[in-house]
């Protein structure tokens, strides 16, 4: 495979990873939100959340391996796990590395979910937001200026993710509203 093919493959899988990641995070946000899906739809949403995150790994791995194997720019295998060690674009590649590290933490705790306390798993799972954010920044800033499509995809993902997060913050639930309303009454 010649260098250009690897370069294209790296770009392509990177973009797909960001899209999939946004989708997975979005499904997670929907599940964690106060108007979470019930019954069968909850099973579908949860299944998609888990299986898409696994599928995303294939694209992410391809993205990383091809970017380094390409060799057009010096990155180095150490930069896969240790942030800010890449000679090329130390900061921006480092963000991608940071995302990988956070992803590893989230995945390991998720696989050990039945063995660790729920709140530990939850605390680590909150890092998904940071992971998604660094991935978006990495994707947007590394997107080449001569290919606006790549940047637009990252931008689109940022907008979609931002909307979902705002929904989660704003959305309320009758249960919560009624409890808050009753709590505000005189009880002592």
């Amino acid at each position: 495979m010649n260098g250009q093919a690897l370069w294209f493959l790296s770009r392509g899988t990177g973009v797909v990873t960001v899209v999939l990641l946004t989708f997975v995070v979005g499904l997670g946000v929907v599940t964690a939100g106060r108007r979470r899906p019930h019954g069968e739809s909850a099973t579908v949403v949860m299944g998609l959340h888990r299986w898409l995150s696994l599928g995303m790994l294939v694209f992410l791995a391809t993205h990383i391996i091809t970017a380094i194997a390409d060799g057009y720019v010096p990155i180095g295998w150490l930069a896969v796990v240790v942030p800010f060690t890449s000679p090329y674009q130390t900061l921006l590649i480092g963000l991608g590395t940071l995302g990988v590290d956070l992803l590893v933490a989230v995945m390991v705790t998720s696989y050990l979910r039945h063995r660790i306390p729920e709140r530990r798993w939850r605390a680590v799972h909150w890092l998904s937001y940071a992971m998604w954010l660094v991935a978006i920044v990495h994707g947007f800033t590394m997107g080449s200026s001569d290919q606006p499509g790549l940047r637009l995809v990252s931008l689109g993902c940022a907008v979609v993710g931002g909307l979902l997060v705002s929904w989660r913050v704003v959305a309320t639930h009758t249960d919560r509203e009624r409890r808050a309303e009753i709590n505000a009454q005189e009880w002592t």
Binding site: R178, R179, I182, W187, T188
Partner: protein, 366 residues
């Protein structure tokens, strides 16, 4: 001196706060666990007035009864009353330790008072075991062994102590012994608190307060957790456990409210159910969602009386019982069921666009 516990056992005294649980069992458990005492003088039920009456007229005997149950050189007794109420003021004036509860329906419930006394909110707690043994609240805070008795129960204990169990049993029936107070209110000549006993008819009780007026159509017995009777039923229903049970109720906390005949009884019920829904402590789903749903079911049924509507309401009622930390949803379910049964002819009248209250109002001013 005979032990007061033996005297209570011999007298067969039951709690006068509504649940009619054996007082002897509670006092015995309280002694074994060295429980502190809370005297419930809240008059928490709608239309209740007897706790205030006791505090006003028999405070000395009430304190004496409390001292009998919570012995010791310096017994720890708290007197619970609604904040800002006349009862609270009288208790304060007597120099007693007053536990001021918020003026809420569920805050005068036994475990809500215990929670309040332990620095918590005035909301009922889940009874994993009776709090007379001590225990923990839902957050895991320790709750010391606490006994809660209604003010009338303690007053009766002091009377049993003074006059003996035989005197006590000379009132009432064998199954429901002892004198008991009844608060009579609503559309009646002389509302007030009256001394009575089980075995008479509800109509005879109402005679104490001036009797049922001819225009009266319905009578509520036991408040929000009680039942509704027609005036005819009230005249014949025997005021004892069996007689009230035949109508799905109990003697409860001893109160009878004569409903205003100028107001549509369906509307009176709707108002009470709305109030009940608003009084949920928001802790248990069946209560915080079930009661507002029940109240709106009732309103819907009032607007368009149909058998399906009544069935929907009964299905809702079936979801409420024994599913709360306290018996608030149970009581409201009982009241709604009774109202639905007793007011069935009223629904029939409404189905053809009329209302018996309008008729009687015209009759009144004719």
């Amino acid at each position: 001196m005979t032990d007061i516990l033996d005297a209570i056992v011999a007298a067969g005294l039951t709690g006068r706060g509504g649940a009619a649980f054996s007082t002897a069992t509670k006092v015995k458990a309280a002694r074994e666990h060295r429980a502190t005492l809370i005297v419930n003088a809240c008059d928490g039920e709608i239309g209740a007035a007897k706790d205030a009456w006791i505090v006003e007229h028999h405070l000395h005997e009430l304190v004496e009864g409390a001292a009998l149950v919570a012995p010791g050189r310096r017994p720890h007794v708290r007197y619970a009353a609604h904040r800002g109420s006349r009862t609270a003021a009288m208790l304060h004036a007597a120099g007693l330790h007053v536990l001021e509860a918020p003026h809420r329906y569920v805050s005068s419930e036994e475990t809500a008072l215990i929670s309040l006394a332990h620095g918590g909110l005035g909301r009922p707690m889940t009874k994993r075991a009776p709090f007379i043994f001590g225990g923990r609240d839902s957050q895991g805070h320790r709750i010391a062994p606490t006994l809660v008795l209604n003010a009338e129960t303690l007053w009766r204990i002091s009377q049993i102590h003074r006059n003996g169990p035989d005197w006590f049993r000379s009132f009432g029936t064998a199954a429901d012994p002892g004198p008991r107070l009844v608060a009579i209110g609503g559309h009646i000549v002389r509302p007030g608190v009256y001394e009575s006993a089980a075995g008479v008819t509800v109509g005879e009780l109402l005679d104490l307060a001036g009797g049922l007026r001819p225009e009266v159509t319905h009578v509520g017995v036991g408040g929000l957790g009680g039942v509704v009777l027609t005036a005819a039923q009230a005249r014949t229903t025997i005021w004892d456990t069996a007689g009230m049970k035949a109508h799905g109720g109990s003697m409860g906390p001893g109160l009878i409210t004569v409903w205003n005949p100028a107001e549509c009884p369906l509307e009176t019920t709707a108002r009470l159910l709305d109030y009940a829904a608003g009084e949920s402590a928001g802790q248990c789903g069946p209560c915080m969602f079930g009661l507002p749903a029940l109240a709106s079911d009732w309103r819907r049924l009032t607007e368009s009386p149909r058998p399906e509507g009544a069935q929907a309401l009964l299905r809702r009622v079936a979801l409420l019982g024994r599913r709360g930390a306290c018996a608030h949803p149970d009581g409201v379910a009982r009241f709604a069921t009774s109202a639905l049964t007793t007011l069935e002819p009223e629904f029939a009248v409404h189905a053809v666009g009329a209302c018996s209250a309008r008729r009687s109002r015209h009759a009144q001013y004719a």
